[in-house]
Point group: C2
Chain length 219, copies 2
DNA sequence: CGGGCGGTTGATTTGTGTCAAGGAGGGTGG
DNA sequence: CCACCCTCCTTGACACAAATCAACCGCCCG
């Protein structure tokens, strides 16, 4: 007899802004699907500097990055009011045959995660700070499902510019300057918690002009 | 009745230097364990520039990076005479129950792969080119199993300096210069296809002095 | 012998980090 | 409601590491 996976899964939340879904060195035993809200993953070094490894949105799974370890190796922090579903891994074995399907799902998710990371590695290095920001906004647009009328996109930023800087491997000052430049060029409009993409076509072209012509086919 | 995994696995090789174990857009259907030799994974963009995403050694599994896709998304190129074992994934289902164990193994491997990539992302950005090279050599030492007498390590480089540059996100000229600097400081000795680590302790110290104090605990 | 590729070196430019300062917004307490 | 503070963000002047451009060497291989 095969039990349903859903009997193991339970909803958790809400987590308020700044609350942690899990933290570094908590015992790793569950993945979490984000039902609503936004989550960042951060590492904190000895000097107290935080380093952002990614932002995650509804439908995304977090915890994958800790598979293979005993403990979580990142803090998962809600950036808005957030609900998640907990998927405990230690009890999956009681599912019987369907464990194969679950494993298959995890493999697929991990595969995507590897692609994503490899992509960042091979692409990111060869992009200017302005390009990195545009790529970032493009990603947000895809994930975030913006209401878009006539190719003009208003983009809410749930994370601070400091977090964006950390994620993109830049300093906050550089983010600020790059945004100003893009604004002067008429590509975007920079507000505090919002970015407005004025000229999507120009933006896309700018992303592709990698200094060494990398990955021009991706556009 | 449970068939043995090993009945599905067969040895392939030798691949000579420059030969491809698989290439981009080949149908993805197998992983490969490297039995002997060295393999690099590269992407080639439209302008013909190649971008190295990693080097792999005996015991490593390649093909993981393409899981989830229909085709391989990198070229796997032998850097020396290389033997591999092919692990076809499409016939794993005929293994019956033991598929769970195989899947579990794959999950573990993918997990490590994610860690590795995340690490590169969060660390790499904050290291100078000299530090990146030292980290690279350190990695080679670990993987490559050098015969080491009295903490003086001679390190054979199967890959070109150009490949190293690409992998580390630098230009060949910068690699050259960084090596010269390290040599002038007495840390290493730079030969054409060999690096000699003269002062391991100094090397380790240099790696740790991240500009922003990142990950000092790793040392 | 000659061509090509990998590697090295030098002169110069440039992007982005660094340091220092100031501003805008939001929250808290009087 | 205002004053204060704190954090996030922005701006400017400057420094520096690495990219760029150009040239050259040495090795391998036809």
């Amino acid at each position: 007899m095969m039990r349903d996976v859903s009997t193991l899964i339970q909803s958790k939340g809400p987590y308020e802004t700044g609350e942690r879904i899990y933290k570094i060195q908590d015992q790793f035993k569950s993945l979490f699907i984000i039902k609503s809200g936004v989550v960042k993953l951060e590492k904190v070094d000895n000097d107290g500097n935080s380093h952002i490894s990614g932002f995650y949105f509804p439908g995304d799974v977090i915890g994958l990055e800790s598979i293979g370890d005993e403990q979580y190796n990142y803090n998962a922090i809600a950036l808005e009011k957030t609900w998640v579903c907990e998927i405990p891994l230690d009890r999956l074995e009681s599912l019987g045959q369907s464990i194969i399907a679950v494993q298959q799902t995890i493999i697929t998710l991990l595969g995507k995660r590897v692609h994503q990371a490899d992509d960042m590695l091979t692409r990111g290095r060869y992009l200017s700070s302005e390009q990195r920001l545009l790529v970032f906004f493009e990603m947000l647009c895809k994930r975030y499902f913006i209401q878009t009328i006539d190719s003009k996109k208003k983009l809410h930023l749930p994370m601070s510019k400091v977090d964006i800087a950390s994620y993109l491997g830049m300093r906050p000052e550089s983010v600020s300057r790059a945004l100003r430049n893009l604004q002067n060029q008429g590509v975007i409009q920079n507000h505090l918690k919002t970015i407005e993409i004025k000229d999507l076509n120009v933006a896309k072209k700018m992303i592709c002009k990698s200094r060494w012509g990398l990955l021009r086919d991706k556009c």
